[in-house]
């Protein structure tokens, strides 16, 4: 099960993050989770939002480059080693983890967003484990 993630390119300029968020707010788009990654002179904002396609459209109108892509969102229990189990299964299958970040959804346990080199197989692998995978509806 995949979840749609919205990524937005941000130049390292004063106030760009605020501007992107304002565009979403002004258009009634709800932010469920937000994560910001920095490179040397640009940043990537990764969001789970209530309506990703609409969000992309309104961002484009405001001259932001963005993209909607699939990720896998999981919830793991706080027991020791449960994240390790998941990551080991993925790496042992020869799949690369492109990036991973914590989802700030207020539920029991830890929620993570995962992007791998082979999302379909990752989906299969995790499906066979006792790990909860979020659906779009559950998050939205």
């Amino acid at each position: 099960m995949y979840v749609k993630q919205l990524s937005v390119f941000l130049e390292n300029r004063e106030g760009r993050l605020e501007e992107a968020l304002k565009v979403l707010k002004d258009n009634g788009i709800n932010i469920i989770s937000l994560s910001l990654s920095d490179a040397s002179d640009f940043g990537l904002l990764r969001l789970i939002v209530s309506d990703p396609d609409e969000a992309r459209r309104v961002l484009k109108e405001s001259r932001f480059s963005s993209q909607v892509s699939d990720i896998i969102a999981i919830r793991i229990s706080h027991t020791v080693g449960s994240l390790f189990e998941v990551l080991r299964a993925i790496t042992e299958a020869g799949i690369n983890i492109e990036y991973m970040y914590t989802l700030s959804v207020g539920v029991e346990g830890a929620s993570l967003a995962l992007k791998t080199s082979d999302l379909a197989r990752t989906d299969e692998l995790i499906g066979g484990m006792s790990v909860h995978m979020y659906t779009q509806e559950e998050l939205g």
């Binding site: 390119f9 130049e11 640009f42 990537l44 001259r63």
Partner: protein, 433 residues
């Protein structure tokens, strides 16, 4: 088809022999008949006998735009005024107009040059040639006209300005050849398409010039009008169109070396560059009587190829024009042309991204930054891919211009907003204060 095989296919040694003989005569003529040239030669301690052939050409001083301005209108005339039978001139939007002053023989050689070019494009006496360059002071109209007449084709001198009338003539006379600027021809194509008249025309080829055009424009013209497109080159001060033209191989424009001696020099130092290297095109008119030019700097950037062409001609080929020297930047001692940068960026995915070159000087060191807009097609949700894009830009630029540039990815539409669509360079160095 070749108009003058004896000349156009001459072996290289014979071309050079002929050029050497003609250059000697030219130097003699200008030294004795043109005070301006004589003084320039004397200033560098040069006498006619110092020039024994084309191997000595580098000894001769250049002739520049500034010289033409100073000598305006007829200060460089090398024959008595009574020998001149016609004058042409450029519009002179950026200074004094450039003058063409022709003796009867100059007009004949001009017609010969254009006839060679048109024959290269397949024009024969059976063709109907519609000339839609402007007639008048501009060299395009009368230049094409005399060349086509020399071949014996039927010439329709429509000139410019009335597209409806032109299309009428095109259809009524079933013209097979059109000579005009490429942008005007695209306009004609558009009009024909709108009026559903494309299948009423009988054009087989066009001879386009007088402005820079791209391969993309050529492809458009060929596809939309179902014709073959040829590129003709020339400058008023050299004579007009007909100095060079591209053949069916489309691998450069053959320049009539028996009348025009081309050189490629480093625009900054004026020194010769090796065949194939890109630099400024310098032309010496070997046979012009009225207003001869000695080592005239065209400001056009290109390279020369001397290999025999698949069409059979031996005359050197001017490669695709890469820009104007006026746009040249010197960064860390390297000559950089915005067009080189543009061509390099084009290789990334086939379309030039929006970009801006920012040249600066930090601690007495030149720096070059290239800002690239992250358009949607470049976008990725992975930092690594975006960094790869920046690396790719860095490496294609390093290959193209030999400089390490700092690449900065910027948000879409940020560059046009501040800089305007065509501005691609910001030079922050204050070199001349």
């Amino acid at each position: 088809m070749i108009w003058n095989e004896a000349k156009e296919c001459m072996p290289r040694e014979e071309i050079e022999e002929l050029q050497s003989a003609r250059l000697k005569k030219l130097v003699d003529r200008v030294y004795h008949n043109v005070e301006y040239y004589r003084r320039k030669m004397q200033e560098v301690g040069l006498e006619p006998m110092d020039i024994q052939g084309i191997q000595d050409i580098e000894k001769l001083p250049f002739t520049t735009n500034e010289d033409l301005n100073k000598a305006y209108p007829l200060g460089l005339l090398a024959v008595p005024r009574s020998e001149i039978i016609r004058i042409h001139a450029t519009s002179g939007t950026t200074g004094k107009p450039k003058i063409g002053a022709y003796t009867r023989r100059d007009i004949d050689i001009w017609a010969e040059g254009v006839a060679r070019c048109m024959t290269m494009a397949g024009v024969t006496r059976d063709d109907t040639v519609l000339v839609s360059y402007g007639y008048g002071l501009f060299t395009g109209g009368l230049g094409a006209h005399y060349g086509a007449e020399k071949i014996g084709a039927m010439v329709i001198p429509v000139s410019t300005g009335n597209t409806a009338k032109l299309i009428g003539m095109l259809i009524d006379f079933q013209a097979t050849v059109i000579a005009c600027t490429p942008s005007y021809l695209l306009h004609i194509a558009e009009t024909l398409e709108k009026e559903n008249k494309i299948d009423q025309i009988k054009l087989k080829c066009c001879i386009c010039g007088a402005e820079p055009w791209t391969d993309e424009m050529r492809a458009q013209i060929e596809k939309r009008l179902h014709i073959k497109a040829y590129d003709i080159y020339g400058l008023t001060e050299m004579m007009g169109p007909g100095v060079a033209n591209d053949c069916d191989a489309h691998a450069g424009l053959h320049i009539w070396e028996d009348h025009f001696l081309p050189e490629i020099v480093d625009p900054a130092t004026g020194k010769h560059l090796a065949p194939g290297e890109t630099g400024e095109l310098v032309i010496t008119t070997l046979t012009k009587e009225g207003l001869p030019l000695v080592r005239y700097r065209t400001h056009d950037l290109t390279s020369l190829s001397y290999e025999k062409c698949s069409c059979g001609r031996t005359m050197a080929r001017i490669q695709r024009f890469k820009g104007r020297t006026d746009d040249m930047l010197i960064i860390k001692g390297v000559n950089v042309f915005p067009t080189q940068v543009e061509a390099a960026l084009l290789t990334i995915d086939g379309t030039t991204p929006h970009y801006l070159m920012v040249v600066d000087r930090v601690d007495n060191q030149d720096t070059l930054e290239i800002q690239i807009e992250v358009e949607e097609r470049f976008f990725s949700d992975e930092i690594r891919s975006l960094e790869k894009l920046a690396d790719k830009v860095r490496s294609v630029l390093k290959t193209a211009i030999g400089l390490n540039a700092r690449v900065k990815l910027v948000e879409p539409d940020t560059l046009e907003h501040s800089q305007g669509k065509t501005k691609h360079v910001v030079d922050k160095r204050k070199l001349y204060d």
